[in-house]
Symmetry: D2
Subunit: 218 residues, 4 copies
Amino acid sequence: MTRREPTALVTGFEPFDGEAVNPAQEIARALDGTTIAGHRVVGAVLPTEFTTALPALRRLLRVHSPMVVIALGLAGGRAEIAIERVAVNLIDARIADNAGAQPVDERVLKRGPNAYFSTLPVKAMLERLLAAGIPAALSQSAGTFVCNQVFYGLSHAIARRKAVRGGFVHVPYLPVQAARNPGAPSLPLQTMIEAIRLCIDTALTVRRDAHFAAGTTH
Amino acid sequence: MTRREPTALVTGFEPFDGEAVNPAQEIARALDGTTIAGHRVVGAVLPTEFTTALPALRRLLRVHSPMVVIALGLAGGRAEIAIERVAVNLIDARIADNAGAQPVDERVLKRGPNAYFSTLPVKAMLERLLAAGIPAALSQSAGTFVCNQVFYGLSHAIARRKAVRGGFVHVPYLPVQAARNPGAPSLPLQTMIEAIRLCIDTALTVRRDAHFAAGTTH
Amino acid sequence: MTRREPTALVTGFEPFDGEAVNPAQEIARALDGTTIAGHRVVGAVLPTEFTTALPALRRLLRVHSPMVVIALGLAGGRAEIAIERVAVNLIDARIADNAGAQPVDERVLKRGPNAYFSTLPVKAMLERLLAAGIPAALSQSAGTFVCNQVFYGLSHAIARRKAVRGGFVHVPYLPVQAARNPGAPSLPLQTMIEAIRLCIDTALTVRRDAHFAAGTTH
Amino acid sequence: MTRREPTALVTGFEPFDGEAVNPAQEIARALDGTTIAGHRVVGAVLPTEFTTALPALRRLLRVHSPMVVIALGLAGGRAEIAIERVAVNLIDARIADNAGAQPVDERVLKRGPNAYFSTLPVKAMLERLLAAGIPAALSQSAGTFVCNQVFYGLSHAIARRKAVRGGFVHVPYLPVQAARNPGAPSLPLQTMIEAIRLCIDTALTVRRDAHFAAGTTH
């Protein structure tokens, strides 16, 4: 592989909050090395730690210069693939990260703007997933934990590179996790891998985002 | 095939309420003709109609003399395989059935008891599904629609045949259905087929039901 | 007060599962001594204990000979007044009661029928509450804890007294409880007191229950 | 009343989406003319229309020069008082507003920043409500409808006036609305009025916001 081969980057996270697995990690691993729309997919796993996650992501951006970046995280309790729209410059950790840190009301970047919008074609991605029969929705908040931090840091890192598209997608529990969380929804790994493959393909091939209502009233 | 070959019966329902598919039907079809614990599985689909569902079920019982019967129905909105415990002698249709009938506050059987308990080993089944990483729970009510009617009618039909075990299991939406019902949970067909296969196997092989708390406070 | 003064009995439960209050108890206390449709209301509080709750209820039935009995219990997590339809002959305690007992898969009464239906005019009650702008629904299961035990025991005790109507109603958290259970719905005490007053009045004055669909599909 | 009397402004919205009432409007009306922490409360109702809501709010700001502004909106389906943290520069109307307009993927202000954070002491307010036994939570998204538009426009209008604190609070259905939306949570009007009174008082009297974790993982 040479540096000039076009790539797409998909990242997951290590398991956190006592879970043994993380579907985001599994999806990144499964897609690593595959080819989508002529781009080699680099699948990597970030530590679920406030101090090391973003440096690891920045290193991946430097090494691989991807045209599309989709960072993935687990949203236990959600029923569908949640395509995030907004990264906010705020960290407020409800639980400790994997290193035991629990920052409260800090900025991701001291001098960064309050928020970034995803530069992925989020509605075209939503349309594509639903057309494939995969439960999906847009989400207006990626929370205030490491997921949002990475989403914000990624957005900041690519803010000036207009040719690069990047954003964040939250995924539900795996069925095996839902089996230990009574009443929790889930999606099978294969469906989630296919969903992210479709998202990457859409981000690589669709020029203009789709235009239809997909907001929330509150 | 001769009549004396031991069988297990699994029934599904035709799609209803405007849905194009019904996972219960798909599971019954997928298991039809397979062999589980030395028993040939008969998979059949019942009409989602108050007047014809039970006669169709009784015919299947007569023709196949199954040792285990699991009737399946769709519970759109549930996240897990729901093993039903109680069939009640009550019909109160919130929506019309596929023939346009909507009976309100009628008995399934005029002179039947108020309720039957499932004679399946419901807790052993629950334990088996959770051990296999499949989201599952016991449910104290199968509702008051055709599902409950069939569950009650089945229980009544086998009430005197102590060697026969029978009951009802509700299943969630397929992902393709959840994609059209925003926020609704789902399970993939393969997971549901495997779940019901495990349920049948458990009902055919486990003599005494398991003993652990799995009730609800309300 | 003489024995012949007609009465209505409403019971609540002592707080359980670590909660400091129980709205069911508060409602029973608030209605105690009031008069509804010419009947003196006896409000009493039952212990949340499998061994003592039913004996206490039977004593109240003996002493007061009420024409209407509504037993109340807390359903933490529900958003509305839940009028129960079915009491089942099953105890399966997910948590320990206030005496530390946690019976699993026992019968309420060894030789009782599998279930009793509420003899309250449940649909007229539902109609009345909704017309008064109070969130309400019918429920097909009162669970398998002390609430269901008392509902079943009450139903059994009055099964032969055709003039007596009795049943069970579950109520949501108080706002002060919801404040400690993130995301949990609640109703204010005054609304719940008014709801149960309307239920008692309906049970004392409406001869024939209303007839409209209010069941569930699963 | 002279211009120099210190004021606090609380706004509600007209009913929308076919509802007959809007608790946000009722709360604003109930608090109008009261005095909180030495400030006269101006309660006003905004049209639920994209083109007229913000101009009406700006007029109120000009006329009353309030020290604290809390805009209120209805969040049907939420169980608690939701104190919003982030206003985003995005409109994506899932339903039409009261004038029939349904803008999709537009900016609130063409040249505004991507987002504003509430300048209310949101955690001190949360702490105060919970201490008073009122269900409450922080929310990371006010949606993409007129509520978010007003929240964003308000934040922009007061962005340079450091002495003025302003933000948005979403409130649940009234019980009478929940009675028509099966399963929906609600809070009584009196509880909501008291909640907003406490919020205004906190915003007028607490200098430094509280510091504790109240974020979400996704």
